[in-house]
């Protein structure tokens, strides 16, 4: 037998199956050929088992940082119907059953990531051992794609590590690092990566350890009807709290595990396969898979900007301006060992920035992602200064000073004289024109916008804003840098509000218009939350600060016209001292811990009365349709090339609900024709300018096309 995807040798009576052999992808996957070859390899093992020439089987990976990254998502997304999905799952299940049913001992050696189908393979072996490397982790992330692990994972994991821990792992889809995996009994031992296979051979000769006293006790505790019922109930409550009931996969997973718990393997697996089929053909899972592909695509070098040259490695940074955003960017640089300089006019400002950065590190310490020692080393790597000296070694300088064009222009010119010739300059402006800033620079080609979102540690999106003269090398270097910092970069052309803030504007504006018409703020918030937004527009205004939001809103109106006219209330807010949470004068009142209590009296007083009733769907249409319309304008102006960039940006930039697949994916699914009709209707009955449909939308409808065509 000639294997292409896996290696298969028998030495000293041990069959060794090596995955990721001659791997041409970045990570080894269970694709069609691999599954087929595994099946053939197992048949060979079975034959020799009967001959008596093989006394054990061992799985390992040739790949440097992965055992198996799971089933090829392409394979899953090709399953269009329930039965196709279920059939696919059954194939995998029967393959892994073969491993489980071997009469000779089997062992799996995990080094690097081992996810989804990879872990399900490992679970079908008698034993799992792992390397102690920090890059070794195991997990069943299927739930994040709106799926149930379909190759027997939900059957075998609870039996391996107990129900409560297994539910937690399957429902959260989180990664389990090797030390923790050892503690929870998922892997039997951890060894240095060079020794794992050697140890596996040794262990194959030994009888497996019997369960410890503690494990038996735990089993006893969870292995009775009553305890199980409580565990499932708790898990269900947690899922509903975390997902607000928007996601069907975790509930389905719970149903399958609970109703199949006392069933035998074959009938359980049939249920699992059935559930997998249902989920994988559902719209929700397809949306989440769509997002997965968008995410993967964002990690690749953008083709339009590929100049063939290697991107410059940005390894020393500086941030000018120690405000909240500046401190956030400085934190990111410190975290990525860039020994950043933090520059501001006064030491008081610097100290505020330092506090912010320390706060971000500290929250990692509190979540046990970092030790105090690491905090000390990373935080102490920040150099503070009140002048522009000593920046000669920096190759990325980001300005984040006050949003004032003249101030920024002057600062950038000063910077040019103080940094090395090949340093990249970037501005973290959210509302000012990048092209305008670039005008007076001696070397505009090394300048771009780098728009982060607040708070920097939590928000994955970064908009790289280009102007006409930005060089490909600059764009690529920034893109590469963002990826190294575990951020999701998108490349957008300069334009008012760039991409995210421009689409966010109608979200906030329309909420204001609705309130001005007398719609109750509670109704507006609920309509958005029920749509799946993480935060209603009114709450979001508190977070941004009404004064900041108004300022940006009026700039956008000035540049883009009456379509983005802010509500009449905005003017009042700008004049009043509503600054949201910053000065504790927002629309909401908050308790000491910062959780919202209710709308503040002062805010409710300024709203018009009497209240105007409106149903939820109408509110949602009034808010989300102008966003779709604005996105169409953006595509038309070629701010970004493709609808997918809009969708990715909104999901990572404002938390647009992932299960909807993105704003424009949602629009495609709803039907552009209906959307256009509704917009025309609103433009007649509510406001002509704000709802005037974009030419692109009209054209798409006329051509019977979609955003994603």
């Amino acid at each position: 037998m000639d294997f292409q995807k896996i290696s298969f040798v028998v030495t000293e009576g041990i069959a060794e199956v090596g995955l990721g052999f001659k791997c041409d992808k970045s990570l080894p996957l269970l694709d069609k050929e691999t599954l087929k070859e595994l099946d053939e390899a197992l048949n060979l093992v079975k034959e020799r088992e009967q001959e008596g020439s093989v006394k054990g089987v061992l799985f390992f990976s040739h790949h440097k940082r992965a055992f198996l990254a799971g089933v090829d998502i392409q394979l899953i997304s090709d399953c269009k119907t329930e039965s196709e999905g279920a059939e696919g799952a059954e194939k995998g299940q029967s393959l892994f059953n073969k491993i489980e049913d071997l009469s000779i001992p089997s062992i799996c050696c995990v080094h690097g990531l081992c996810l989804g189908g990879g872990l399900e393979l490992a679970l079908s072996c008698d034993r799992i051992i792992a390397s102690d490397s920090q890059s070794t982790f195991l997990g069943l992330p299927e739930v994040k794609l709106g799926l149930i692990p379909g190759f027997g994972g939900t059957f075998r994991l609870p039996r391996k590590i107990g129900l409560p821990k297994a539910l937690d792992a399957i429902l959260s889809g989180k990664n389990i690092y090797s030390k923790k995996a050892k503690r929870m009994g998922l892997v039997e031992g951890i060894f240095p990566k060079e020794r794992v296979v050697t140890m596996a051979r040794v262990l194959l000769d030994e009888a497996p350890k019997s369960k410890s006293f503690k494990e038996s006790l735990e089993n006893l505790a969870s292995d009775n009807f009553l305890a199980r019922k409580i565990v499932f109930q708790k898990a269900r409550e947690t899922v509903l709290r975390k997902t607000q009931g928007f996601y069907q996969a975790p509930l389905k997973i719970l149903d399958v595990i609970e109703s199949g718990f006392s069933k035998g393997r074959s009938s359980y697996l049939a249920m699992e396969a059935q559930a997998f089929g249902e989920l994988c053909s559902s719209g929700q899972s397809q949306n989440l898979q769509h997002l997965f592909f968008l995410n993967e695509a964002s990690k690749k070098v953008p083709k339009n900007y590929d100049s063939g040259k290697k991107p410059k490695e940005l390894n020393r940074g500086a941030v000018i301006g120690a405000g909240v955003m500046g401190a956030g960017i400085c934190w990111l640089m410190a975290k990525n060992k860039m020994y950043p300089h933090l520059v501001d006019l006064t030491f008081d400002a610097l100290e505020a920035g330092i506090k912010q950065s320390s706060h971000y590190f500290l929250s990692q310490v509190k979540r046990k992602r970092m030790s105090y020692d690491e905090l000390h080393i990373l935080q102490s790597s920040i150099t503070t200064q009140t002048n522009m000296k000593a920046l000669g070694q920096c190759n990325l300088i980001v300005e984040s000073v006050v949003e004032d064009l003249e101030v920024k222009k002057k600062l950038l010119q000063d910077l040019e004289d103080n940094v090395s010739d090949d340093a990249i300059l970037a501005s973290n402006t959210s509302s000012l024109g990048i092209s305008e800033m670039a005008k007076n620079l001696k070397k505009p080609e090394r300048f771009a916008g780098l728009h982060f979102f607040n708070p920097v540690p939590k928000m994955p999106l970064v908009e790289i804003v280009t102007h006409e003269k930005t060089s490909k090398e600059t764009i690529l270097s920034l893109h590469n840098w963002c990826l190294r910092g575990k951020k999701t970069p998108i490349i957008v052309k300069d334009g008012p509000g760039f991409l995210v803030n421009r689409i966010l504007a109608p979200y906030l504006n329309e909420a204001g218009h609705l309130m001005a018409e007398g719609v109750s703020p509670r109704l507006i918030e609920d309509a958005c939350l029920n749509y799946g937004m993480p935060m209603g527009p009114i709450r979001l205004l508190d977070e941004i600060g009404q004064n900041v939001a108004s300022k940006v809103a009026f700039i956008l109106q000035e540049k883009l016209g009456e379509r983005l006219k802010p509500s009449s209330l905005m003017k009042d807010w700008e004049a009043s001292d509503f600054q949201g949470r910053k000065n504790s004068k927002g629309f909401y009142e908050y308790d000491e811990k910062g959780a919202e209590i209710d709308f503040s009296e002062a805010f409710l007083k300024v709203l018009p009365s009497p209240a105007k009733p409106m149903n939820e769907i109408e509110i949602q249409m009034r808010i989300f349709l102008p966003m779709i319309n604005e996105a169409a304008f953006i595509l038309e102006e070629k701010i970004v090339e493709h609808a997918s960039t809009v969708d990715l940006a909104l999901i990572y930039g404002i938390g647009f609900p992932p299960f909807r697949g993105g704003l424009l994916k949602y629009a495609d699914q709803e039907g552009l024709e209906r959307i256009l009709e509704a917009l025309i209707d609103f433009s007649k009955n509510v406001n002509q300018e704000r709802y005037a449909p974009s030419p692109l939308l009209k054209k798409l409808v006329a051509d019977k096309k979609k955003f994603y065509d």
């Binding site: 060992k337 020994y339 300089h341 030491f347 610097l350 100290e351 330092i354 506090k355 320390s358 706060h359 590190f361 500290l362 105090y372 905090l375 000390h376 080393i377 935080q379 102490s380 790597s381 920040i382 150099t383 503070t384 200064q385 000296k389 000593a390 920046l391 000669g392 070694q393």
Partner: protein, 431 residues
């Protein structure tokens, strides 16, 4: 023998803080990090071009055996850069600079970072010998019964700790602690309590004036402090605002309670801090277009009896002046570390008094150091004496003040616990 000039490109220090205050959470290596970053970045030198890092440190923190190496890696220097830690008690920082001087002078190196770091707040309490032995016995014994048997030998007094700091400041041969050696000098050479307190008061008022007048701004690098590293410290904490000779006179003698004259008020305080100098060869100066503050001319170390360690500077200054054929008048500025007022006053006396000079083995007296040239921005009594760092801290302060005054020669000297003296001579290149 090959020979080239050695340049002091620039020196920087952290704020000096009385132990137990703002720097207490900042372990020794962390004190060097902002200094190293600042010196390299200000002079636009990349992390690969440094030949070596040498740091003085006496506390030897158990978790950072080679403080210099830990500091260099924390500060982002390339792992190929060598680093080591030196210990010559109070002159450890000066020893570091001296070694850098020799290596550059001998054309073996081009760029060396040398200085000292000390966190005296973090000096440990040590288990007594009896307790340590008990631990070892328990560890060695096999089986529970043997372990219990070993443990029965425990007695509560075993728990009384040894304070490493106190032990470190006591000479193991003459069994005097440093304060007592100062008392001995005061007694032998008739230095009165009033003289000592007047000198101490001068130190406080000069340091305060310098601090408030922004004199230290050029030499101090702000440092992140606190367990969360969320505060920024940029001024010394030590000089007393309300110090007067009268208030100092009210303090009780600390080392000889009844008849003594040395008090905590006229001694240096236990202090945390770090200092670092960027030293370069003439080739490196050209290559990196550096603008050095000074040239390092020479250094000297001498020895004397441990119980009179405070007189160390006398012989060291004598040696360095002789070797470089200079007169006392040629020196425009002196930094003599103030371990104790009594000790500095004795050194001044010895330089001036023929009989005393000969008593300490000098061929002649050198003359008087006028107060206008001595520790003009205060000294260890006000600013504190972080042992491993002071030897380079006084060089840092000396170089900045010498540049400000446009003087030519500057001399830094200090007494060294265990009975030694050290001196280092620099020549200002901005006069």
């Amino acid at each position: 023998m090959p020979n080239q000039d050695v340049f002091l490109v620039e020196g920087k220090r952290t704020p000096q803080v009385k132990s137990g205050f703002d720097l207490k959470d900042v372990s020794a290596p962390f004190m060097g990090v902002p200094l190293l970053r600042c010196l390299l970045d200000l002079n636009n030198i990349d992390e690969m071009s440094v030949d070596e890092v040498i740091l003085g440190n006496t506390e030897a923190p158990p978790q950072y055996a080679n403080v210099a190496r830990v500091m260099a890696l924390m500060a982002g220097l390339d792992s190929s850069v060598s680093a080591y830690t030196v210990h010559r008690n109070c002159a450890s920082g000066m020893e570091a600079i001296s070694q850098a001087f020799l290596k550059i002078k001998g054309m073996r190196s081009h760029i060396i970072l040398a200085g000292g770091v000390e966190n005296m707040s973090q000096m440990p309490l040590i288990y007594s010998k009896e307790m340590s032995e008990l631990f070892i016995r328990v560890n060695k014994s096999k089986g529970l019964s043997e372990k219990i048997k070993a443990l029965t030998q425990f007695r509560p007094p075993h728990l009384s700790p040894i304070i490493a700091l106190e032990q470190g400041l006591t000479d193991p041969l003459c069994h005097l602690n440093m304060g007592q050696t100062a008392e001995l000098l005061a007694r032998e050479h008739n230095i009165s309590r009033e003289e000592q307190d007047t000198f101490a008061n001068r130190s406080h008022s000069l340091a305060l004036k310098a601090s408030e007048g922004g004199v230290f701004v050029d030499e101090i690098v702000p440092i992140l402090v606190g367990q969360k590293r969320d505060r920024l410290l940029r001024t010394d904490i030590g000089p007393r605002r309300n110090s007067t000779v009268d208030s100092l006179l009210k303090l009780k003698p600390h080392f000889e309670k009844k008849s003594g004259t040395v008090t905590v008020g006229n001694s240096c305080s236990v202090t945390d801090g770090g200092s670092l100098c960027l030293l370069a060869s003439s080739d490196a100066v050209k290559k990196f277009k550096l603008d050095p503050m000074a040239r390092v001319v020479d250094f000297s170390f001498t020895g004397l009896s441990p119980e009179r360690m405070g007189m160390g500077p006398l012989s060291a200054i004598d040696q360095i002046l002789n070797r470089n054929e200079l007169k006392l008048d040629d020196i425009d500025l002196f930094e003599i570390n103030e371990a104790f007022a009594a000790q500095v006053l004795c050194v001044l006396k010895g330089l001036e008094d023929e009989k005393l000079a000969k008593e300490y083995g000098l061929k002649k007296a050198w003359g008087k150091i006028p107060y206008e040239k001595l520790n003009v921005n205060g000294g260890g009594i006000a600013l504190g004496h972080p042992v491993g760092s002071s030897g380079s801290r006084i060089v840092v302060t000396l170089s900045h003040e010498l540049k400000r005054r446009k003087g030519r020669y500057g001399l830094a000297s200090l007494c060294i616990g265990g009975g030694q003296g050290g001196a280092l001579l620099i020549e200002n290149l901005h006069s």
